[in-house]
Structure formats: structure tokens, C-alpha cells
């Protein structure tokens, strides 16, 4: 098997890893700061996709605007969910968090079906993104390049946000010790709401970016969420870098899986996760949390 082929396959895996990364980023941030495991995170991925589709596919706005609008819309829903549903259970055992948010998944999936119908939908690919560029003597979709770019950009922006901005420092301080932060006058409640909104917007971005190449359908998020869990856990819960690396690992390795040993590809990511956790109980970049 030629070197080009392997490289190309990796590149392809990279682009599919980005959706996973965007989904996992929000998941890990929300867990890291609020300590909440959000099963419904995949539902926000779906909501983002549906809203983007509505603006872009039905109302005919341009893609960028549609994505922006869908992020805003999802954020609003996210804030409501955080205020009225997540807040009351934040202090509870993970089991209850998983259960409640699982309930939300069921609700959102059926609502989506009620609103948009059971038929899957797929809008046209915008002109600018059509076609491919030649890489390693093989055409590579422009849109996938764009997605890779977007994913990396988001990573950089998040890094800047948390490492370089005042707000980011407050968030990290609060994550480390809420009581102390509150004592120092941080409005922890509002901060949590903000972080949760940020998280669901990232999920929505993942969903929205997919609309031109993937179908929009009820329940689409539920099939992503478990993968996202795996990514965040093997990257280390609460670690952004971990989520990024984890997503790339899963995306690229399963891409090679389809090429090299197609028959066991299904089991691959679970194997990876099991092995990583056995070797590094708290994930690749995770620290033990009290």
C-alpha cells in the first residue's frame, strides 16, 4: 500500500475527526466547569443542524449567516435548559445527570420529528465549496479542508479564550474551586450558564457544519454522543487538549480501520478506549479530580 494512500486516508480521517472534536469540546468544557455529564449534548448537535438547515436550506440565507443564527438559537435553548433543568441537578450524582439529560434526548428527538417531520433532509452544497483540490494526486473535497480549518481554528480560539482572556481565567478559577471564586465575588451561577451556552454552541457548530454533506434527521445526535463520550474520556475529562487529541485519535484511527481491517472497524474505538483507560485511568491528558 503506497505512502500517498496512507497519508490521504489519514487526511480524510482528520476531516471526519473535526465533527467529533467540536461535539467533544463542548462536552468536556461543560464537565470540566460544571461537573455535569450532558447526555443531551448530542441533541444540541442535532438542533444546531436543524436550525442551520432551516435558515440555509429552507429560508435560503447564506451558509455563514445560517450557521451563526443556528448557534444563537441553540444557545438560547441551552440557556433555558441550563437554568431550569441542569441547575437543580448539578450537585447530584452523575447517574442522575445522565438520566435527566437522557430524558432530554428523547424529548428533543421527538420534538424535532414533530416539527420537521421524520424525513431526512439535505440542503445543496454552496458554490464556493463545491469540487475538490488535488492532494497527493487525488482530489480532496474543498469542504473537508474547510471543516479541518474550522476545527483547528476553534481549538485555537478556545485556547486563547481560556488561557489568555480575563473571562477564561475566571472560568478556570471557578472550575478549580467554586466556593473560593464565589467568595471572591464571581457570579458563579451566571458563569455556569455562560459556559453551558458555550458548550452547546460548539455542539451546534458541529451539527451545522455537517448540513451540506450530511443528512439532517431526528436522532442523528444520539449516534454521535457515545463516540463523543469516548473521546472526552480517553482524552481526559475536562481537558480541551485531551478532547482534541482524542477526537483526532478516534477519527484518524477508525479511518485507517476502514482501509486496513474493515471487518473489525466497528469494535476499534471501544478497544482504543479500553486500552487507554487501563493504561492511563484518567485519560491521556486527565488529572484525578477530587
Amino acid at each position: 500500500m503506497s505512502f500517498q494512500v496512507l497519508l490521504y486516508q489519514g487526511l480524510v480521517g482528520l476531516s471526519s475527526a473535526m465533527y467529533l472534536w467540536l461535539l467533544s469540546a463542548g462536552l468536556t468544557i461543560v464537565f470540566g466547569v460544571l461537573g455535569v455529564l450532558n447526555f443531551a449534548h448530542g441533541a444540541f448537535f442535532m438542533i444546531g443542524a436543524y436550525l442551520a438547515y432551516t435558515f440555509y436550506g429552507i429560508l435560503g440565507f447564506n451558509l455563514a449567516v445560517s450557521i451563526a443564527l443556528s448557534l444563537v438559537g441553540t444557545a438560547v435553548i441551552g440557556v433555558l435548559v441550563e437554568r431550569f433543568l441542569v441547575k437543580p441537578i448539578m450537585h447530584l450524582d452523575h447517574a442522575f445527570q445522565l438520566l435527566l439529560t437522557f430524558g432530554l434526548v428523547l424529548i428533543f428527538d421527538d420534538l424535532a420529528k414533530a416539527i420537521w417531520g421524520g424525513v431526512f433532509m439535505i440542503p445543496p452544497m454552496p458554490r464556493v465549496f463545491q469540487g475538490a483540490v488535488w492532494i497527493l494526486g487525488t482530489p480532496f473535497p474543498i469542504y473537508n479542508l474547510f471543516v479541518i480549518g474550522a476545527g483547528v481554528a476553534v481549538w485555537l480560539l478556545l485556547w486563547l479564550l481560556f488561557e489568555k482572556t480575563w473571562w477564561g481565567r475566571i472560568v478556570r478559577a471557578t472550575a478549580a474551586d467554586p466556593q473560593m471564586a464565589a467568595a471572591l465575588g464571581v457570579d458563579v451561577k451566571r458563569l455556569y450558564t455562560g459556559v453551558f451556552a458555550l458548550g452547546v454552541m460548539l455542539a451546534a457548530l458541529g451539527g451545522a457544519l455537517g448540513t451540506p454533506v450530511r443528512v439532517v434527521a431526528p436522532g442523528m445526535g444520539s449516534f454521535m454522543i457515545v463516540q463523543a463520550f469516548i473521546v472526552t474520556v480517553l482524552g481526559g475529562l475536562g481537558s480541551l487538549t485531551g478532547a482534541f487529541v482524542g477526537a483526532l485519535l478516534v477519527g484518524v484511527l477508525s479511518s485507517y480501520g476502514t482501509l486496513l481491517f474493515p471487518t473489525v472497524e466497528l469494535a476499534l474505538i471501544y478497544l482504543i478506549m479500553a486500552v487507554v483507560l487501563l493504561v492511563r485511568p484518567h485519560g491521556l491528558f486527565g488529572r484525578a479530580r477530587a
Binding site: P88, I89, D93, H94, L98, L271, A274
Partner: protein, 358 residues
């Protein structure tokens, strides 16, 4: 969140009455109901076995497993495999349970080193690994079409006695018997010294070590027992449906165990059993009314978590305490005066310190 040990007054008259009533109803049910109702009750009983086993791990040992469906699936497939070759129900069931326990031993050895969310995720991963194998090992498992035409073989006590269980009704009585035995055994386990040590581990892993409990060993044992119970439930499924498919080992089915248990309540021994009944009844009714059953289920779950965290058992218990117990003689020991007047510092400190426990 945590299961308290059953209080002193374990077997009061009231208890006997309710248990007796339950048993009577279960016994007469087949004579007054359609086979479909019997079929549903069989499912309730299997789900109860599944969830009660899970709760030994969750409510009593404090380990949230998201991979119980794997053992359920292994129990079902092994039982199916046996019945397809050698038509003896007993052999099938025992084989399924044994296989599930064996796999639980292996997965347990690797998993119980971890606790909390990491344990949960590890069991999820191993569970889905089993799922993928059942899905992909087509030569043996029939892939996603699964194994079909599993006979409801007679109950053959090694030639001594042979009882046919072909009809739903006769199979119902078989499952009922199995369920009663399973509940009895688990009840004994929970109230044994071993059961107490599990609750100790749940409350404080560190302390358990320093009173001389081998924490990991006991966790592993609990994990194996829970696996065996899941396997038993699965093994009963194969001859009931006479077909098994990989989905029964999917993580979402592991989720059912969690849902059912929290629905009924982790605090009470019978909580999960109650959850199982409620789960089947609710779903059945909702599906009859609307195509949007997911929506309704979701709302129920959310309300449950926000409103009745102790599960239905807890909710009813409060009512029970209020209306019945206070009518009768005081059963609970009087709350010591000192509890109302604690040393404030101490209380606060104690709370903070316990905060470090999962």
C-alpha cells in the same frame, strides 16, 4: 442516592401482607388474563432480575455500570446456542448464567480498579466491545439477523423429571419460579456480612480498607454477581422470544437497567423490581396512546429526576409513613435528641469531609 440497609422491622405484618398479595396475584394471573398480559409480566420479571442485579452494584456498592447489557447479551446468546444444539432448558439457562459470570470475572478484573465515572465509561467500552463481537462474529452469532428458532425446550432435570414449558403460560410459571429464587438469594446476599461490607465500600472505600475489608475483591464479587443476574435475565429471553439479536447488548439496554432502577428507587431492596413493573406498564400505555412515546417517556424521566429522586418506592414510602405507619405503633426508633442539637461546627465539617466521598 445511596441504599440504606433495610431497617430493623424487616418482616412486619404489613410486609407479609403485601408480599403475600403480590405472590397470590402472580399465581392467579395466568388464569384470569390474556397470554399477552402474561407475556408482559414475564418481561417485568426478567427486567426485575436484570435491574436488581445491577442495583447490587449501583445502590449497594456504589459502582455505576453502563455495560450490564453485555452480560445480558452473553447470557442470551449462550443459552440460545445451547438450546439450538441440546434441547434442555436447564442446561441453557445454567450455561448462559455461567458464561455471563465468567465474562464478568474478566471484565471485572480490569474494571473494578477504577471508580466513579471512569468505571462507568470502562464498562461502557467493554459492553460495546461485546456488542460489536455479537454483531460481527457472523459465523457464530448470525450477525444482526441473530439466532432464530430457539426452541422453548422442556425443563429436563437430568432425566429425573421432564416438565414441558411450550406455552406462554407454562413458561410464565417457570420464569416466576426462577424470579422468586433469584430474589430470595439476592435478598440474603444484601443482608449478609458480605452485603454489609459492600455498603461499607460504597460509603467509604478508605475506611473499608482500614477495617480489614479487601475492597477490590469484594467489588469484583459484586460485579460478578450482577453479571450473573444480567446473564440469567438474558438466558430467559432466548427461549421466550425464540430469537436473539445483538441489540440486546447495546449500551442503550444497559441504560434501561439504570432507568428502571432509578424509576423504582435505589434505596429499597425491591425498588428495581417496582421500577421494572412501572417501566413496562408506562411504556405499554404510552405506546397505545401516541406515536410520540419518546416524548412522553422523556418528560416522565425528567420529572422523575427533578421531583422524585428517591424513585417511586421512596415517593410511596413517604406517603406510607405519613398515612399508615403513624396510624400504627411507632416502628422507627425515636430520633435521638442530640441529632436535633448537633455541634454546628462538627456538622458542617463532617458534611464538607463527606463531600470528598463520591
Amino acid at each position: 442516592m445511596k441504599a440504606g440497609p433495610a431497617p430493623q422491622a424487616a418482616a412486619t405484618g404489613a410486609a407479609r401482607i403485601v408480599y403475600g398479595l403480590a405472590l397470590v396475584i402472580l399465581l392467579v394471573l395466568p388464569f384470569v388474563s390474556s397470554t399477552y398480559t402474561q407475556y408482559l409480566v414475564i418481561h417485568m420479571m426478567m427486567l426485575a432480575i436484570y435491574a436488581l442485579g445491577f442495583n447490587l452494584l449501583f445502590g449497594y456498592t456504589g459502582l455505576l455500570s453502563f455495560g450490564q447489557a453485555a452480560f445480558y447479551g452473553i447470557g442470551a446468546y449462550v443459552c440460545a446456542g445451547i438450546l439450538l444444539r441440546y434441547p434442555s432448558l436447564l442446561a441453557g439457562i445454567l450455561g448462559g448464567v455461567a458464561a455471563a459470570a465468567a465474562v464478568a470475572l474478566i471484565i471485572g478484573l480490569l474494571s473494578v480498579r477504577h471508580t466513579r465515572i471512569y468505571f462507568t465509561m470502562l464498562t461502557l467500552a467493554f459492553g460495546m466491545l461485546v456488542y460489536s463481537v455479537l454483531w460481527k462474529w457472523r459465523a457464530v452469532t448470525g450477525g444482526d439477523d441473530g439466532l432464530v428458532g430457539i426452541p422453548r425446550a422442556p425443563l429436563d432435570f437430568f432425566g429425573l423429571a421432564v416438565i414441558p414449558v411450550r406455552t406462554v403460560t407454562s413458561f410464565y410459571f417457570f420464569v416466576l419460579a426462577v424470579t422468586l429464587v433469584a430474589l430470595f438469594v439476592l435478598h440474603r446476599i444484601v443482608h449478609s456480612p458480605f452485603g454489609l461490607s459492600l455498603q461499607g465500600i460504597r460509603d467509604s472505600e478508605v475506611r473499608s480498607q482500614f477495617v480489614g475489608v479487601h475492597v477490590r475483591k469484594h467489588r469484583l464479587l459484586a460485579f460478578i454477581i450482577a453479571g450473573a443476574y444480567a446473564g440469567l435475565a438474558g438466558a430467559l429471553l432466548a427461549p421466550l422470544e425464540s430469537a436473539v439479536t445483538p441489540v440486546i447488548s447495546h449500551w442503550s439496554h444497559s441504560g434501561d437497567a439504570v432507568l428502571v432502577t432509578l424509576l423504582g428507587g435505589v434505596r429499597a431492596f425491591f425498588g428495581p423490581a417496582i421500577g421494572a413493573v412501572l417501566f413496562v406498564v408506562i411504556r405499554e400505555l404510552v405506546v397505545r396512546i401516541t406515536e410520540y412515546w419518546q416524548l412522553v417517556m422523556g418528560i416522565i424521566v425528567v420529572v422523575l429526576v427533578l421531583g422524585f429522586r428517591g424513585g417511586m418506592a421512596q415517593a410511596v414510602m413517604d406517603g406510607w409513613q405519613r398515612w399508615v405507619v403513624h396510624g400504627l405503633a411507632q416502628r422507627q426508633p425515636p430520633v435521638p435528641a442530640q441529632v436535633q442539637a448537633p455541634a454546628p461546627v462538627g456538622q458542617a465539617q463532617a458534611r464538607v469531609e463527606r463531600g470528598e466521598e463520591p
